[in-house]
Amino acid sequence: MGKVNLIIDGKAILADESKTVLEAALDNGIYIPHLCHHDDLHPNGGCRLCVVKQDGVDGVITSCSTKVKEGMVITTKDETAEKVRKLSVDLMFKTHPSECVGCPKYGKCQLASISQYVGDSGRDLRQQKLPLIENEENPLMLHEMYRCILCGRCVRACSELRGVGALKFEKVDGRMKVVINGKSLEEAGCQFCGACVEVCPTGSIRDKVGVFKDDPGLSREMTLVPCSEGCPAHINVPKYIRFIKEGNYPAAAATVREKAPFPESLGYICVHSCELQCKRNHLDGPLSIRNLKRFAASQDDGSWKSKAFMKEATGKKVAVIGAGPAGLTAGYYLKKLGHEVTIFEKLPQAGGQMRYGIPSYRLPREVLDREIAEIESIGVEIKCNQDVKSAAELKSQGYDAVFVSVGTHAGNRLPLEGNDLPGVYLNADFLRAINLGQPREVGENVVVLGGGNVAIDCAESALRLGAKHVTMTCLEAPDKMTASEEEVTWAKEDGIVVENSRTFDAIESENGKVTGLTVTGIEGLKFGPKGPEFTRIPDSTVTFKADTIIFAVGQHPDITEEFGLELNRGRILTNDGHKTSVEGIYAAGDAVTGTRSVIAAIAEAREAVSEIDKFLGGDGNIEENLAPEQFANPCIGKNEELTKLHRNEPAVTEADSRKCNFEPMDLGFDCSKAGCEASRCLQCDLRVQISPQKFWSDFLAEEGGQQ
């Protein structure tokens, strides 16, 4: 590629001959105002702000669409050019609202920024304000075209970048407008990619409030890709979904593994916060991301192993207490970083809540065993049946660092009369006993107190152990229960009765035997600083018949001060960087945060590993690229099917055949369902590819902060 010499504002510039005058100027820290120009779009030339003076040429030239030529002499701050720019800004503000403060784009508007830079001349031109019409037809985007200055970037982005062409220009009552290219969005073929929003310089086309988080602390990528942001481990969801769509399942599995060493287990039991954030919630329901992950992970061929990092031995020793998801994750990465790792586990086998809490009908143990074996295979030592009494003491036995992840293996017992009678169980004990192969005895009528996923596990397990009537009761109203909707539905299919909005009054008993649970209806439930607040509904007290009662109202770590670490309300107290009160001892997972989720434990353990590695003299970097490079084609084209494809549900065993055993019930996706579900993805990550909007202050900052 040839180079040409030119002079811009007295500065000699050597520029690539393919560049435009505008590009050459900006590359060299000379700012020329421009609005209809966008880095990723074809030049347009309509805004007239980038006009400059070229020596020997009458009038002004359009710098965004004029190529550099040898010997050109350009003046950007030419008097006439500046007058033209001012006039253009003047004219734009005759239709654009002049009051900025009330605009949702206030502070982020390129038009406002440019008008500040260019200034206006206060000419007595006529106000021609446009009718304040808001079009909310698009479920994800808001069109307030009375702010539109017709730069055409949205129209160009939709056709040039996306190949969709859902927007077009049209004259409406004589006035040029940007309109939807068809009678409806569907007809126009909108793919909800948000490219139009991304390039709009004003507040005309915006994301609807609530689609993305408005958190200035989030990176652009995390803001624009809500599923990845919603995942505690920030797994690159759109990337692995795209691999599934392409049929490259091992690559999808590898993508998940980049952030979590339990891809398949997560595929079975993840709480999928990603799905709660999925943009498609606003359309017709989120993608079934967890099931896609499960399918991909089941197709893993281990090809990622050749790309996984394994550092040389450092000679440092780290002890991990507790072989749950946090402990195993920490052990895995610490070993990869070259440290010698020993995991101490109190129970007979590794897995923590994944083995002793989550029932096997939800997570088949062979899946878990396989993933733990993978961790052991790189040299992580797991010592089971080892009850560590004191973390501090363990550290003194020659370990350079200790990571505590003891989880929450003790259930909470509510202060009700009769709470210690035989036949009253705690969630953690009840579920653990089943998984140790020594299930507790259950009667015919079981009442479970609680409305979370663990309560459902208890209720479903009781049913599978032979209970005839199982009732769950909780404070929360149906729509406020913490259990996932899907699990509540399945529980109801299995005949479990859910009694919502009740407060527990007393455990009834006769001759030392439980006979029932008395509850009273409530309303106006709120969680204040001192716990739940509500109003009792008069005359709504009833007693549920019961011979077995299970508390499923939270869990806490099974440790005391003797463990040698400072505790806070029974949990391990940590400071920044997952540090405990003792130097060199780190902690994460449920034991710190209270009962959360497997993915949260994994994410926190990864963070803690980085801190421990730095403490041991490493760089703390555990990022790795296990999946192949992916080309995410931004030109998605018109796909009329996209909006018609509705969420695929997995095959599930019928209630009658599942509620009497602990066999897996959710059979997940097959290949065709997975492909079909993956093609529903709106590919939010494509929007990140679009160059972010820049303001004149950004260019001046690059120039060296001068004005």
């Binding site: 030339g45 004219l91 031109l125 006529r126 017709l150 004589g174």
Partner: protein
Amino acid sequence: MENLLVVSCVSDDVKAPLSMYILRNYKADVIAGVEKYAKEFGAEILYLLPEQEEVDGLNGEIRYTKMSSPTLNNPYAVAQVLSGNLPRPMIQDDYVAIYDEKAVSVITPEAAYGMTKGFDEKFVAINSGEKTEIKKTTVGQSVGEIASVDSAKAVLLGGLKGRFVTGPEASKIKIDETENFSSITIYNEEDCIVDACVQLMNAAYENSCGKCVLCREGTSQFKQIVTEMTTGKAKMSDVDLIKEVSELITIGAYCPFGQHMTRPLTTAMELFAEEFEEHIKKKSCKCGKCYKQAELYYIDPDECIGCGECIDACPEDAIEGKDGFIHIIDQDLCEQCGKCLAACEEGCIKTATKLPKLPKKKTKCGKW
């Protein structure tokens, strides 16, 4: 890449409907010219015709369009229209407009005719009153030889991009091959120049492709300001405003149409400064065209019952009044949209060219 030569018959200036005339009357010459040009570039030929115009025996594919725009001699604008979009020109170094994977170039029937017969001949549309006559002239002839312009009040040479000159001056001007002479529009003593400018600016607004801010908003502003000169809302300072803004638009607009669409107005204002001043200052029109049309709306104070219906109906908030008091229309805000007329069940909203005596302060209904 393959080439496509589009014969655009939809880029005529509104004052010079030459394309279809030449294509129909000199078909063989046009076809020969197109053929010659297409051969040179190895291009396929496509004729772009206005809808409902049928021409037999053309040497290429025929496509019809509802669009008509001065930008449709620009290859990119033509490619846009062929793809079903609005015309928007693209003027850029080394830029190749592409349609159907072919590089587009454009020729008009007039240019094609010139390819065959040379460029000494020039077609000119002569507009007088409602009539349009198209004449074949020779470059070098004077305007006076082909049209009787001596007694004209004004002559517009060229259409929406043209300039006004006086009749005697026009008579001496020699035809050259530029577009400026594609039409000669004659205005007589009974024609109001300000009104003529209103028509021209309306047409310019309609013809503006809307791509560039200066042309799109400029035509919109000029249309409104000149119209206000015929309804009494404009100020004398608007004359200087138009001059100053026009100069910048001429320098700064994107395409030749945008750059020159101000010319009819600025030349008219220079040539007929008094007539403009009379419109603005005295709010009168000697030709009786302008202020006659501008019927003013008022509320008959004898009949108004003070119900407020008209206040609610007025999109400009131009009606003042409280319950039970006579309502009054603020003439400075009134846009004469007529919505109040429809809203008033009492039929007390009336129109007149001159307002009767109306209450100046708050007056109870029935006390006038």
